[in-house]
């Protein structure tokens, strides 16, 4: 019975994506390759002073990405610090420095890690003008970088990889905004609130009072999921009934998280002129997704852990309306994309279920990964896989008719080095630096034993992959955690982006080499297997020791 429900639910998601990825993928490809600007875009380009017809070299493209993101950090920081003077702030004071720093980076990097409880920290103006805006534009930045890389593969001896400002505006105005408008209405229809009411008290029939919150939730919820952001309007995130009221809105939210990431391979295939290449990437994503979902569902259904056994089932931290299946589907989706939204308390997942959430992020979030970031992440892994496999067919490795030489391998290696280094360094420093370790062990960690260690590992894994979900028991609003996680989020987002854009430039400058039967085919099932294998082995080798000390030490008996 459970198995059939699991399959039916998975099949529904698959069917929805199968229907939607084609038109959306094609639309994305057209959007980012069209020469025409909309009238409103022309107006905006005039205001911001951009010539939409001028193409940028990779260096200029990169500088634009960084400039835009740094300005974003400053604005989000300032708005939080000025909260006391802003309208609709619900009487909340300015957000403290450390927390503002952490939150600003968190939202600009598409991580949306929340060291704070939103209800008690941010008013509606910061929610809308700072956080909702970043929900859009941080996603659009990811999309732009991915498209730039795809252009690199598609180009032939080109010195340019597109124009960041055009990609940013098109991604925002032509893709994210229309989708958000549609799905805001769908979510409102499901019961997600959308108002500007302040918190108001009601008198319950049991004779008590209850505070009912308000807020422009649905409009943020839609882009939170479509843009793989994941920062909740409320502390409980998508477990909160006002964010995710029913089992079917839960499915819609899962669908929204997967929609753009699973459509991008199609767009990629179209732009490089070989749709089969896109489908190979899509297949690799899907395989990892299904396997991971099955494992987490198995772990949660099996119900490991002494407390879980005592309760008779893994329902701690889960909502009755979603049940285990609705939770693992959401949790897997959220951690395999860079969303990080949760509809349950991941801290209370079974040891192995919680490990799957971590492992999902540790794969580098490529199945299907965050908006844009998933595609460029898996393409970099494809470059690594192609390099090894390419040697094994006796030729200088090629991917999509581009040579994978020393420069490409260097950039790809630096890419896959960055995130694990940040995660492991952050975790190790948390337990290794005198002064820090006391704060971490006494204040930050919530649960005792190795689960407490897992909380820290999860936090840095989440920050290092710009996911944003957490083993929520930890108190991350400490100087060390705010600073360390802030730095990890920033570096883990932009250092890889530097390498990706440099890679795009390096590929774009190359000529296309001819395809022969001696060329490694990268659209066949064998390559899909190789790509999946490469991702899993690199992930496993990097994280096995720390996982052994965390969830495995906790979960194996």
């Amino acid at each position: 019975m459970e198995f059939w429900l699991f399959l039916a639910q998975l099949a529904t998601v698959a069917l929805l994506l199968a229907i939607c990825h084609r038109p959306l993928g094609d639309y994305l490809a057209i959007t980012f390759t069209s020469r025409r600007d909309l009238r409103v875009e022309r107006g905006i380009y005039r205001i911001i002073g951009v010539d939409s017809k001028s193409e940028q070299s990779w260096q200029v493209y990169l500088r634009s990405v960084l400039a835009f993101s740094i300005v974003g950090v400053l604005i989000v920081y300032l708005l939080q610090r000025l909260q006391a003077w802003l309208p609709y702030s619900l009487g909340l004071p300015a957000v403290p420095q450390g927390l503002s720093f952490n939150t600003a980076i968190s939202f600009v990097t598409n991580t949306n890690w929340q060291s704070y409880s939103p209800e008690a920290t941010v008013g509606y103006t910061v929610q809308m003008a700072a956080l909702t805006v970043q929900n859009f534009v941080s996603a659009a930045v990811g999309l732009a970088v991915a498209i730039a890389l795809v252009r690199g593969f598609a180009a032939h001896r080109s010195g340019t990889i597109g124009n960041f400002w055009v990609d940013l505006m098109r991604g925002t105005l032509r893709v994210l905004l229309p989708l958000s408008v549609i799905f805001t209405l769908v979510l409102i229809a499901g019961g997600v609130i959308e108002n500007l009411n302040a918190v108001h008290a009601v008198h319950t029939i049991a004779g008590a009072t209850q505070n009912i919150p308000g807020g422009p939730v649905a409009s943020q919820e839609a882009i939170k999921l479509i843009g793989n952001n994941g920062g909740g309007f409320f502390n409980a995130n998508s477990a909160h009934p006002f964010e995710n009221p029913t089992a079917w809105t839960n499915l819609v939210e899962v669908f929204l998280m997967l929609l753009v990431p699973f459509s991008l391979p199609r767009a990629f295939g179209r732009i490089v002129g070989d749709r089969r290449q896109g489908y190979a990437i899509l297949a690799a994503m899907a395989v990892i997704f299904v396997v991971s979902l099955s494992l987490m569902t198995w772990a949660e259904s099996a119900g490991g852990g002494a407390a879980t056994q005592a309760a008779g089932g893994a329902m701690e931290g889960k909502e009755q309306r979603f049940g285990i299946l609705g939770t693992t589907l959401f949790g897997t989706t959220s951690t395999l994309t860079s969303t990080g939204a949760v509809n349950a308390a991941h801290d209370s997942l079974t040891p192995l279920g919680g490990m799957m959430a971590m492992l999902n992020m540790m794969t580098g979030e490529v199945a299907p990964g965050g908006i844009g970031a998933g595609l460029y992440g898996i393409l970099v892994m494809a470059v690594v896989a192609v390099f090894l496999a390419g040697l094994m067919v006796g030729r200088t490795p090629e991917y999509l008719r581009k040579h994978i030489g020393a420069r490409e391998v260097k950039l790809a290696s630096l890419y896959f080095l960055t995130t694990p280094t940040l995660i492991l360094a952050g975790t190790a420093l948390s337990f290794g630096v005198p002064g820090v370790v006391q704060s971490v062990e006494k204040t930050t960690i919530f649960n005792p034993g190795q689960h407490g260690f897992s909380e820290i590992l999860y936090a840095f894994t989440s920050a290092g992959n710009n996911n944003g979900s957490a083993f929520g028991g930890i108190s991350a609003n400490t100087p060390w955690m705010n600073a360390a996680l802030g730095c990890v989020m920033f570096l883990a987002r932009f250092v890889p982006i530097v390498f990706v854009i440099a890679l795009a430039g390096s590929l774009a400058a190359q000529e296309k080499s001819p395809v022969t039967t001696g060329t490694l085919p990268t659209h066949r099932p064998m390559f899909v297997g190789l790509l999946v294998g490469t991702i899993l082995i690199i992930t496993a080798l990097t994280y096995f020791p720390v996982l052994a000390l965390g969830p495995l030490a906790e979960g194996l008996h």
Binding site: I70, V133, V137, L185, G317, G354
Partner: protein, 210 residues
């Protein structure tokens, strides 16, 4: 100034202007427009699916409530919601899970205590208590309990209100909501709605044992 520096400075000036434009469009126009449309077309849902009873708002059908006294002792005349970690319990302005780990002794202890309490309150056998009855939800605001837990509470509630158990059981069964579309999520009983229906059935029993 070097050309690179000028180029970089120019990028930042573009970035600031782009940020301002996008903030106006996405941070102000978009949420306000959506709020307007939502309030016009689906005012009840956009406002939180609030439930009116005799002219006053008694809660939201989406947000769970406590049916306990001020000290947190369950009121036997009401069906009980799940344990909650939101504030002091079902504080909708402080949504939260317990975040207790699956091997946390504190959680095991709490679960054992809840089981004991339910055994005492409902006279149920420990092995028949469903997991949702002894675990806190992710939001702390779960409006639902499982049909099993609702049915388990029937004898005690009926007794507290002096109603025939079969009558209460019929009521509970009528309030069971199946899976969405038949296969999504779990079957649920909305505790607030159940208690409102109970109150309608037996208005006199709301204030306690007669």
């Amino acid at each position: 100034m070097s050309p690179t520096f000028r180029g970089t400075a120019r990028q930042y000036w573009v970035a600031v202007r782009a940020m301002v434009v996008l903030t106006v469009v996405l941070g102000i126009a978009y949420p306000l427009a959506m709020t307007g449309i939502g309030q016009l077309t689906m005012p009840v849902r956009a406002s939180g699916s609030l439930i009116q009873e005799h002219g006053t708002t008694v809660g939201s059908s989406l947000i769970g409530q406590s049916f306990t006294d001020a000290k947190g002792v369950p009121l036997a005349q009401w069906f009980q919601s799940r344990p909650s970690a939101a504030g002091d319990g079902y504080d909708a302005n402080a949504s939260s899970a317990s975040n207790l780990g699956p091997n946390n002794p504190a959680l095991t202890k709490a679960i054992d205590a809840r089981k004991a309490q339910i055994e005492k309150l409902d006279g149920a056998d420990a092995s028949s208590i469903p997991p949702d009855a002894v675990t806190a939800s992710g939001s702390g605001l779960d409006p639902h309990i499982s049909p099993e837990y609702a049915l388990l509470q029937v004898p005690a509630v009926a007794e507290a209100r002096g109603l025939a158990a079969s009558k209460v059981e019929t009521l509970v069964k009528s309030m069971i909501q199946g899976r969405d579309l038949g296969y999504l999520g779990e079957p649920t009983v909305n505790v607030l709605r159940l208690n409102l229906a109970l109150s309608e059935l037996d208005p006199g029993g709301d204030s306690g044992r007669k």
